[in-house]
Symmetry: C2
Subunit: 263 residues, 2 copies
């Protein structure tokens, strides 16, 4: 199970490239396989299925492995974050093969890291990832998680924020988060990070334009301390309270406080 | 700001390698610079400081950039997840340089993805990352986040779980989580993922051995649906309820349910 990274060949790890090179069959969603340079797949049997064919893909991969083939099951981003690694292991388990078929997960640069890099540094402090897809998770569970994470002041990373069939999910999710955050909270919207068509924008929570958001978008909603600055989105870790950042030194009042507490 | 990945040269992205190659100065924590093959740093000015020298490192990096140098500030894992990208941007902002000094974030394979890959697939569903370091965050905030995320059934990824000065943090964090999870909940403990000395173990929540845990460890606590199977840790996405995973087909009762709802 191989994570391809966000799409840019510069973010495909050598270990992932080697795994593809040593595989005789590559199984994946066609949209992800298209991100690879053609030579990476040259000479390999390629099994691609549509977006919702995950179970079929995992089954085909296991069949090929049982036939003695070295198989790479690919996901974009990381192989384990909302991705195929789990399903392949589940299919192996269900067929009683989990301990018989050797398999490894090759991690990759996840979409959340790619999106954050384009926004600046929104994930420097605690964050929670929530998928807004209710295909496999009841919406009530999703809403409960959004509410809890926003209430405890996590930065929120939203996967699968909006599809044609779920056109209002992002709007509903932002409304839940807005119970706990002010209208000026920065929200980063990153479409197709490190892919053709890349777009990164920062908006106020009250003004997010959900219209352009699709399934290849990651939305990052700031914590209470997050802010926009110079076209970037930042979530300070807390150094500014303890250090003089311009001077690179510990703040004097902090030093005094420490001295006092030792006395 | 460049993410080096977990340490294995196979997980250092080509884009990160290119950023290091084009830099004339490389700034980083000595423990991370040691992970790089020596030739990557050859011919470059290397500015390394100890573990807690982040503010000094960021300041030195900005000074070098102002002197006209191309500077790479490195972090292990991803450059933005609990890492240096945010601090460098804050220092630039504080010195009024944020819009004057061009800078980019090159994402990397974060520690959370590296750890998850070695465990199996614990992050296939919603998860929350919490750092247990209270150097910059009050422990009450940390505990509140653990409680909220566990209560909303997130998988929990714990960074900085235990240091010499904070020997009891992991124990205290697991006790908070145990308010919401059974004693059999799987907990993955991964030390030095994709580095020399790598070790990955799965324990029951009630039996986690905190003794061997250090700052180079990531701890992953399962959601209520997570389970251990065949030496792996899995968090099912929910396919098993809708599909016959062994047969690769949609479950009949599901098909019937769909037919009925259309009728």
């Amino acid at each position: 199970m191989v994570g391809l990274g966000p799409g840019d060949p510069g973010l495909l790890c050598p270990l992932a490239r080697a795994a593809l090179a040593s595989a005789s069959a590559v199984v994946g969603y066609s949209g992800y396989l298209d991100l690879l340079e053609p030579e990476v797949l040259e000479g390999r049997e390629v099994v691609s299925t549509g977006m919702t064919g995950e179970v079929e893909r995992a089954g085909r991969a296991v069949d090929l492995a049982l036939a003695g083939r070295a198989v790479a099951v690919v996901s974009s981003g990381d192989a384990g974050i909302y991705a195929m690694a789990g399903l392949v292991l589940e299919v192996l388990e269900e067929r009683g093969l989990l301990e018989r078929v050797p398999c490894e997960v090759v991690p990759g640069v996840p979409a959340l890291a790619a999106a954050a890099a384009l926004l600046g540094a929104p994930l420097t402090h605690d964050f929670a990832c929530v998928s807004l897809s209710d295909l496999l998770t009841p919406w009530e569970v999703i809403e409960r998680r959004l509410d809890a994470a926003a209430g405890a002041d996590f930065v929120l990373v939203l996967y699968n924020p909006r599809s044609k069939r779920r056109a209002d999910h992002l709007e509903r999710a932002l409304a839940v988060i807005a119970r706990h955050r002010g209208p000026d909270t920065p929200v980063g919207v990153v479409c197709r990070a490190f892919r053709p068509g890349q777009r990164a924008e920062i908006a106020r929570l009250a003004d997010v334009d959900c219209g352009g958001v699709d399934m290849q978008t990651i939305v990052v909603v700031g914590a209470s301390s997050s802010r926009a600055a110079g076209g970037r989105m930042l979530t300070p870790r807390g150094y500014a309270g303890k250090y003089d950042l311009a001077g690179g030194t510990r703040k004097v009042r902090q030093r005094l406080a420490n001295t006092r507490s030792k006395a």
